[in-house]
Structure formats: structure tokens, C-alpha cells
């Protein structure tokens, strides 16, 4: 039998804590007796009764802590001593209420969150502070979904290089949408699980592709966002290449899809090489480029090029075995819509369906805005814009439309200090009505983006504006065609059918593909021929 007495001077502990600790130590295997308590006369008596007779015990006062242990082995006493020290160092901390570890709890900083590696940090704080939070998230072993914009290119490069080193994905900055393992991050649509894996540098571009895939009955594995600058030379497609690697490894993925603005030439070669070197067929949409460009090198044929988002989704679906592999809206259907419009508005172009007025498009999704301009340019229709690539088509004042105009209302100019139109679509309403009042305007075009994170009833808000615009045109005795592109899936929380109906009831032509809407506009404006 071994005994040990330790006295800790001037260490006050609550008696209840000590009693509980005594019980705990007494229950330890190999301990025959134990006392942890303040050196009160009572406790000193108890210690004496346990057989301790040290002068140290006699000297100890009520402000001193005594730990008296009796056990079968020296080693056991060591262990018990450690238990006592540990308990006294970190006191029991029952967590209640806001302190609980339930995921619903609210925390004040990333460092407080009890999450291990393997999760995702979704960051949407102002850009100035975003890189710092992203660094902290990577340090915690979290993949990063970086919604925030205004992060410097240098910060982006460092974050992505750190991520690559640590095996963590950095989606963004300025990443609007991703769907990882069935969970949508940012503005994301509900899509069924399927065989297409996507890497996308554009949020609304990705949403449009998801909407078409859903419509064709297919689904996705993951949709990995990269942020708009990933394919720039400075970044070198770090996230895109990591994403393609994930899709290559992922057994459920049968078809790969890449959506981006045209990349830097060298980066482009690396991305194409990665696709060609992989084992799965793939579709690439470098928006603004013509589709159908042949690949080069050994893996050629594995990579198909699409000229617009709809085509990219359609081709991916057909590679996965779904859909007919053709346009969502065949030419006859678009022509039927034009005839329908003509029937309802006898004034329009003398019954030909053509409208004399100008196009005014007000987009929340910048990618869709650019796609419309590209498609119309291919039909010989020049469109002014606040985001035009060609300087001669750039609007002098984003507030003032000119001839055919498409505005990206999600651009910095419009969103400084205000929410994005995807969050508050009604912020477009004043501009929409101003365009409706312009006697030169014959076509109004806008997008309605559904999905998680977006406004709960965007179509409802815009339907009111459509009604008002119709009233303005009616009073002015003008023909005004209003076209709504509804980007959403059947599973989206807003209810796709109800959203489309609200707009139709208000008098808008509703399409689910922006590409189709652009073709419709081209036809209405008198450019009948249309080719991809």
C-alpha cells in the first residue's frame, strides 16, 4: 500500500467541486482511499484517520488544499495525482444555451467554431476582410467558398496556392454559386443527383446550366465554383484543375463540364490538356467563343465545345444519356412565340411579328447579359451595355440606355451600397418602367433567377413591374413585348411553375433558356436567320 500527501498553499476551491473530485478519485482503479479538500480541521481529521501524520498536514490551514491518496501502486498514485491536477486546472464547464455545441448556435468568430477539418467555410463578408477570414478557414482545414468580391488578385493567388498545398479547395473570390455534395452554396439551385460534374467560373452561368440540366431530367455530382478569375494567367486555373481532378476521381461523375469566360491561352492549354488526359468525356463552354471548335492532341474528341450555356448543358446531358441533344426551344417554337406575340399585338410590325422598337434588357446575372449580347452580335445586332467588351458599345452613362441596350444591374455601379438584384429584384423596377416609358422601346427583357439564397418571390416582384409597363404601353398605344428568362429548377424553393405563371399572367413571354430568349429577340428584331 502506498500513501501520498500533497499540500497546495493558498489555493481556494469550492467545497462542492472538491467533494465531487474526491469521489471521482476514490473510484479510480487501484485507489483505496482519497481525500481532496481544503485543510479545514474536519478534513485534517479525516486525513489523519486515513493514516497521514505529516508535519505538512499539521501546518496546513483552511486556505490550503490537501490531496491525500492511498493506492496499491506508486504508479496509480501518479495517475490519480494527474487526474486531480487536470480537474483543478480545467473546471467542469457544463455548456448551456448559446454555449452549446449544437450547430445552430451562433458564434462571434471562426476561431470559436467547434468544427474539425473536412467542412466548408462559406464566406460572404466584405471583400476587404474576406481574404483574412479565408486564410483562417484554410488554417482550420476547411475548404473555402468565397462569395465576397473585391479581393485582390494577389490575395486570390496566395489563397489558392495555400489551398493547393494543403489539399483544400478555394472556390472564389467572387464565387456566386456552387453545389457540393448536394448542398448549394451561395445562390444555388436544387438539382437532383446525376452524372454530370461541373467546374464553373460564373455563378449565373452555372445556374443557367443547372436549370437546363434539370429540365432535361439529368442531375449533377458536384458543381464546383472557381470565381471569375481562376483562368487568368496570374491564377493559372488552380481551382479549375483541382476541381477537374476531383471530378476525374469521383466515380459518380460520368461527364465533365467547364464553364468560363475565354481563358488566357496558356491556361487554356492546361485545362484542355487536363480534360483530354482524363478518362471521361467533357463539354467546355468558353462564353463568347464559338462552339464546335475542335480539340487538339491525343485526347481530342473527348472534349466538346459549346457556344452557349444551353448548348453546353444539352451536350453534357446527351453525353450522359439524357435529352435529345438538341435545342431546348426548336426554331419552330420560337417562331410560334413570335406569331403569338403578333396576334396579341396587332400593332407590332404590321402583323409580321417584327417590332420596330429597341431592345432594353435588364439583367441580374452578368453572364446572361453577356451571353445575350454575344448571341445578338452573331445575328448582326449590336447591343450597347455598361459591360460591353467593345469600347464603342460601352454606354457613356450606365443610367442612360441607347438604341439596343442590355444592362448588367449586378455590376458594381448599381450594387455599391445596395443589395444585388438577385436578392432584391425590385431594385430593377424603376429602371424597367423608365425603359417602358421610352417610346422607342419595343422589347423589354429581364432575367429572374431562382434558387437558395435568392429572393423568395422574384417573379412576383417583377410581375408587378410587367403589369405596370403593359399599362404604360397600352396608354401610349404602343406594342411592347416583355420577355422573362426564368433560371431555376423544379426543386427550387420559390416554385418554378408558380414563378413562371406569375410572369405569364402579367403578360410576359417566359422562357427557361437565356439563349432561346436571345434568339427570340433576334427574330423579333427582324434577323430571321439564326445559327449557332
Amino acid at each position: 500500500m502506498f500513501e501520498r500527501l500533497t499540500v497546495k498553499k493558498d489555493a481556494y476551491y469550492d467545497s462542492v467541486v472538491l467533494m465531487r473530485l474526491t469521489q471521482e478519485v476514490q473510484r479510480l482503479a487501484g485507489i483505496t482511499d482519497a481525500l481532496v479538500g481544503m485543510a479545514t480541521d474536519l478534513n485534517k481529521d479525516s486525513a489523519r484517520a486515513m493514516g497521514f501524520a505529516d508535519p505538512e498536514l499539521e501546518e496546513a490551514g483552511p486556505n490550503d488544499l490537501i490531496v491525500a491518496l492511498v493506492g496499491e501502486e506508486e504508479k496509480i498514485l501518479d495517475e490519480a495525482g494527474k487526474v486531480v491536477a487536470a480537474r483543478l486546472e480545467s473546471r467542469p464547464r457544463p455548456r448551456t444555451g448559446a454555449e452549446s455545441t449544437r450547430p445552430e448556435a451562433v458564434y462571434s468568430s471562426l476561431s470559436e467554431v467547434p468544427i474539425g477539418g473536412g467542412g466548408v467555410a462559406a464566406i460572404s463578408v466584405p471583400g476587404t476582410y474576406a481574404a483574412r477570414e479565408a486564410r483562417a478557414a484554410l488554417r482550420r482545414g476547411l475548404h473555402v467558398f468565397l462569395f465576397s468580391d473585391n479581393v485582390s488578385l494577389e490575395d486570390e493567388r496566395v489563397l489558392k496556392e495555400t489551398g493547393r498545398r494543403e489539399g483544400l479547395l478555394v472556390m472564389g473570390p467572387d464565387c456566386g454559386t456552387a453545389v457540393i455534395g448536394g448542398i448549394g452554396l451561395g445562390f444555388a439551385n436544387k438539382v437532383r443527383p446525376g452524372r454530370i460534374g461541373i467546374v464553373a467560373a460564373s455563378g449565373t452561368g452555372l445556374q443557367q446550366a443547372l436549370a437546363v440540366i434539370d429540365r432535361l431530367g439529368e442531375g449533377i455530382t458536384h458543381a464546383i465554383g472557381t470565381g471569375g478569375r481562376d483562368l487568368r494567367r496570374e491564377i493559372g486555373a488552380i481551382t479549375t484543375l483541382m476541381g477537374l481532378d476531383i471530378l476525374e476521381q469521383d466515380e459518380a461523375t460520368a461527364v465533365k463540364m467547364v464553364i468560363s469566360k475565354p481563358p488566357h491561352e496558356e491556361v487554356r492549354r492546361r485545362v484542355i490538356a487536363a480534360l483530354e488526359g482524363g478518362s471521361k468525356p467533357s463539354v467546355v463552354c468558353f462564353m463568347g467563343e464559338e462552339g464546335g471548335m475542335p480539340g487538339a492532341g491525343a485526347g481530342a474528341g473527348k472534349v466538346r465545345f459549346a457556344g452557349d450555356l444551353e448548348e453546353a448543358a444539352v451536350v453534357a446531358c446527351s453525353l450522359a444519356g439524357a435529352g435529345a441533344g438538341r435545342e431546348l426551344y426548336p426554331q419552330e417554337e420560337i417562331e410560334a412565340i413570335v406569331r403569338g406575340v403578333a396576334a396579341r399585338m396587332p400593332g407590332a410590325g404590321g402583323g409580321t411579328g417584327r417590332v420596330g422598337g429597341h431592345l432594353r434588357g435588364l439583367y441580374g446575372g452578368g453572364t446572361l447579359c453577356e451571353e445575350t449580347m454575344t448571341v445578338l452580335a452573331r445575328s448582326g445586332i449590336e447591343v450597347y451595355s455598361n459591360v460591353a467588351w467593345r469600347p464603342e458599345l460601352l454606354l457613356e452613362d450606365p443610367e442612360m440606355s441607347h438604341a439596343h441596350t442590355c444592362i448588367d444591374m449586378g455590376d458594381d455601379y448599381f450594387t455599391r451600397g445596395r443589395p444585388h438584384p438577385m436578392l432584391e429584384p425590385g431594385l430593377r423596377a424603376p429602371r424597367y418602367l423608365r425603359e417602358a416609358r421610352d417610346p422607342d422601346v419595343g422589347i423589354l427583357l429581364f432575367d429572374v433567377v431562382l434558387g437558395y439564397g435568392c429572393h423568395p418571390d422574384p417573379a412576383g416582384v417583377m410581375a408587378e413591374a410587367v403589369r405596370e409597363a403593359a399599362e404604360i404601353a397600352r396608354r401610349g398605344g404602343r406594342a411592347l413585348v416583355q420577355i422573362a428568362v426564368v433560371v431555376g429548377t423544379s426543386g427550387d424553393p420559390q416554385g418554378l411553375a408558380g414563378q413562371e405563371k406569375a410572369l405569364r399572367d402579367a403578360g410576359a413571354v417566359v422562357l427557361s433558356s437565356n439563349y432561346a430568349a436571345a434568339r427570340l429577340v433576334a427574330l423579333l428584331l427582324g434577323s430571321g436567320r439564326f445559327s449557332r
Binding site: 481556494y12 451562433v106 468544427i115 473536412g118 462559406a122 476582410y129 494543403e166 437558395y452
Partner: protein, 469 residues
């Protein structure tokens, strides 16, 4: 080639920023940890850069561990009572000590001026309050902060050379601290009152109270203040604005010795009655105890631990362990709280006193959850009291090894204010305090909650970066 780890990710998401996204991810079945994000360092990029440079620096962590260890191992013991000029280092001549950072007569607030006038008359340097003011204006009296002499004083905190002071010794490191004896409530010098009633009481304290108590303390062999404080926290005190339990424990400890002092029983009775009649008697012991512990932690190079927070009724000043003697000063703020009947917001003087040394030591407002009844006095709800203490863990380095909060599961009080954490989180230390009337001599008009001004910490961090970054 598996370049990506942990793929696919778990369903756990930490959301920083828009709560819209948190909600929508939850709707989709993700486990969302929601961070209520606010910009660090109040959004100041210059400070954020400094914080990033200082983050995770092992030398700073090491320095802080050392400073904390010195604080934690300190054993403040009341060892006696002495005459201020005899025992306080660097104190003598026509000098008066006062609360807070250094200040000149012209910038002093009402209560501090009143206390200075009272002390001059008490010392006999002037015959009347008018003369005393003249002396003060002409600069014939030297003013010096208590904190620069290892002393602390509540409210105006004025110490004059012949006043009796408690002597507290840190038995571990040997350093000593000093504080006057608490005069009670109502018209008292620390609130700037200087009527004859006030001065008579001070004389009685010097002539009767101090000798009796001094003898009792001597007979006791020293009274361990740390354990009294630890116990008082379990009895509803936070030893800044509530000292009822600690005062009782102190009387219980010292009373038997007083009976052996040999002084006339009538005097002993008056001493006991005096202490018993003043719930705040122990404040003048909790403060120097805190000072003795914190002074031990001061002067550790590279330590970011805040070791002094103090106000003179005009300015608020802090000191940092690794930044030596320098004060970092900003304007003292108005206390938000409850006023005694008949008093209003406009009557209040800005924050004053060295008593925030208790918060600096992890007591007072930091231990508010231990003293829930205090909300009746300073305003707020019991939940606020719990919330204040919980919040302070975010700006402190550790949980106290000795002082604990029963209602938080005997969690140690938040201890060791880390300058970096204050700036990073933007959370200012929470101070429980009394409110002095802005005019001298009226006394306490209420109590409430106050924080230091942000500038103190911003300036200190810039200075720290200048020295160590």
C-alpha cells in the same frame, strides 16, 4: 493523384457573413455553424495588418505566459497599515496622489478637485478650502498618479502623506501595494467632499481605526486576501461594486485578533461597527490585492497583457505589461446605469477611479456572473450579468485558477486582458462602477456600467507594433 483532402466535404458548413446563406444551407440539410461576423479591429486595416503580424508569435505567447504566471502565482496578503509618507515609495513632501493617469489641476473634474482641496486642508497646508484651492492652482502641490507609486485609490483616489494606508504584500514576488482605508458612503473625500465632517472622520480613521486594525493585522500574521476574494465570488460579490460578502469575511477573520489588541473595548467596538456599517470596506483591500498581483505581471517585455486600467474623471488610461511606464490615454466616458432618486444623467461625472484595477485582474465586471444581485444596482438583467462575463472570455488570455464563477460551472473568471484580442474583437473591457456627482462633495449618485475608450487600446497596439513588430 489525390490532390484534394477530405473530399467530399462533411455536411458541416461555417457561415461567415450573410445570414441568408446560413438559412438556405440549413434548409438544404447542412449543419451550419453561423458566425455573427463583424469586421475585426473595428474595420481599421492598419490595425488588422498589425494583428496579423503579431498573431501566433511564439515570443509574445511566451511573454504572456510568463506575465500570467506571475499574476497567478501572486499571493496578496494584508500585512499591515502604515502612514502613507512612510511606506509608499517615492511619496513625500507636498505631494498628493490621485486616481487615473497623470493630470494637471486645470483639467481635473469636480470630484477630484474637491478631494484635492480636502486633502490640502486635512494636511494643514491651508487653513480653508479657498486657500487650498489657491495652493493647488499655483502649483505648490505636486500631483502624481497612485499607480506610479504601487498604490490605488477608489474614485478621486486622493492619498495625502499623513493618511494611513493598507500595506499588501505579494508573498511570492515580494512586491507591495497600498491603498487608503475606505471611508464609507455619503459625503466622503473620495467623492470630492471636504466638509469638517469629512475631515473629522479622516482624523478618526487615522487616530483610532488605523492603529486598532494595524495591531489586529499584526497579530493575525497577515490576512490572505486572495482566498477571501475567491470565497466572496461564491457569495455574490464581484469585489468592485459589491463587497458585502468580502467585508463580512474580512471582519470574521480580523475580529478575534482585534479583541487581543489591548485597545479600549469601546474603540474596538467602534472599529467593528465602522467596518460593519460599510459594505464597501473591502473594496480598499480588493483593489490593492488586484494591484499587487498585476504589478507582478507588469514589465514583461513583449507581453500584451493589460496591467492597469484607470481613470481620473477626465481621462482613461491603460498600461501594458510589455510597454513599460507609458500610459495610453483617451477621454473617460459617462457611466450608463441607474441613478439614485433625485439624480439624473447630467449630474454624473465622467468615469473616475482606480477601482477598474479589479476588472484588470479578472474581477469586477469580468466576474459579474458571480454577482448577479448586482444588476439591481447597476441596471440590466441577470442574463446581462452572465453575458458580460462570458463576453470577457473573448478578450482575455485565460480562465482564472483561483477566482471562479459558480453559475458558469465554476469556470475561472476571464483573466489577463490581451491587448491584441481587445483590438481584434472590438470588445472593450466591461467595468462595473459607481458614479460620482460632477460637483465636488455631493458623493455617489448612482452606479452602472462603463468601458474604456477605444483609443487607449488602439494607441497601445500601435506603440506595441512600433516596439516589437
Amino acid at each position: 493523384m489525390a490532390t484534394v483532402k477530405n473530399w467530399p466535404p462533411t455536411g458541416a458548413v461555417v457561415n461567415l457573413g450573410s445570414s441568408v446563406f446560413a438559412r438556405s444551407m440549413r434548409d438544404q440539410g447542412a449543419s451550419v455553424y453561423e458566425v455573427l461576423w463583424e469586421p475585426p479591429a473595428r474595420g481599421k486595416l492598419e490595425l488588422i495588418e498589425i494583428l496579423d503580424v503579431l498573431a501566433g508569435r511564439e515570443d509574445i505567447e511566451e511573454a504572456n505566459r510568463l506575465a500570467l504566471e506571475r499574476y497567478s502565482s501572486a499571493q496578496p496578503v494584508l500585512v499591515g497599515i502604515g502612514r502613507a509618507r512612510d511606506v509608499i515609495p517615492g511619496f513625500g513632501g507636498k505631494m498628493l496622489l490621485h486616481a487615473g493617469p497623470p493630470i494637471t489641476w486645470d483639467r481635473m473634474s469636480g470630484p477630484l478637485k474637491g478631494a484635492i482641496v480636502g486633502a490640502i486642508v486635512y494636511e494643514g497646508w491651508a487653513a480653508s478650502p479657498e486657500d487650498a484651492e489657491g495652493i493647488a492652482v499655483e502649483g505648490d502641490v505636486e500631483f502624481s498618479p497612485c499607480h506610479e507609486h504601487s498604490a490605488v485609490g477608489p474614485m478621486a483616489g486622493v492619498v495625502s502623506p499623513s493618511m494611513p494606508v493598507f500595506i499588501i504584500e505579494n508573498r511570492t514576488a515580494g512586491n507591495r501595494s497600498y491603498c487608503t482605508l475606505n471611508e464609507g458612503l455619503g459625503k466622503v473625500l473620495r467623492y470630492g467632499a471636504y466638509s469638517s465632517e469629512v475631515l473629522d472622520r479622516l482624523r478618526w480613521m487615522a487616530d483610532v481605526l488605523a492603529p486598532v486594525l494595524a495591531k489586529g493585522i499584526e497579530l493575525s500574521g497577515g490576512i490572505d486576501l486572495k482566498s477571501i476574494i475567491a470565497q466572496a465570488l461564491h457569495m455574490g460579490d464581484e469585489v468592485h461594486n459589491r463587497n458585502r460578502a468580502a467585508t463580512s469575511l474580512f471582519i470574521r477573520t480580523v475580529a478575534p485578533y482585534l479583541l487581543d489588541t489591548g485597545f479600549p473595548l469601546a474603540n474596538i467596538r467602534r472599529v467593528l461597527e465602522f467596518m460593519n456599517g460599510n459594505d464597501h470596506f473591502f473594496l480598499n483591500l480588493s483593489m490593492p490585492a488586484a494591484k499587487a498581483m498585476l504589478e507582478a505581471a507588469h514589465g514583461v517585455p513583449k507581453s500584451t497583457m493589460v496591467t492597469v486600467m484607470s481613470r481620473n474623471g477626465t481621462d482613461f488610461g491603460i498600461k501594458v505589461s510589455g510597454l513599460g511606464a507609458e500610459w495610453f490615454v483617451g477621454p473617460a466616458e459617462k457611466v450608463k446605469g441607474l441613478y439614485f432618486p433625485g439624480f439624473r444623467d447630467e449630474d454624473a461625472n465622467p468615469d473616475i477611479g482606480d477601482s477598474s484595477i479589479t476588472e484588470t485582474a479578472g474581477l469586477g465586471g469580468f466576474a459579474m456572473a458571480a454577482a448577479i444581485p448586482i444588476v439591481q444596482f447597476v441596471g440590466g438583467t441577470p442574463d446581462d450579468a452572465l453575458g458580460f462575463s462570458r463576453k470577457m472570455y473573448r478578450i482575455t488570455m485565460t480562465e482564472n485558477r483561483f477566482f471562479s464563477i459558480p453559475v458558469l460551472g465554476f469556470r475561472g473568471t476571464p483573466t489577463g486582458i490581451d491587448l491584441r484580442k481587445v483590438v481584434e474583437t472590438g470588445i472593450l473591457p466591461q467595468i462595473n462602477t459607481g458614479v460620482a456627482h460632477k460637483d465636488p462633495g455631493i458623493g455617489q449618485v448612482g452606479a452602472g456600467l462603463v468601458t474604456p475608450p477605444w483609443e487607449c487600446f488602439e494607441k497601445a497596439l500601435l506603440a506595441f507594433a512600433g516596439r516589437y513588430a
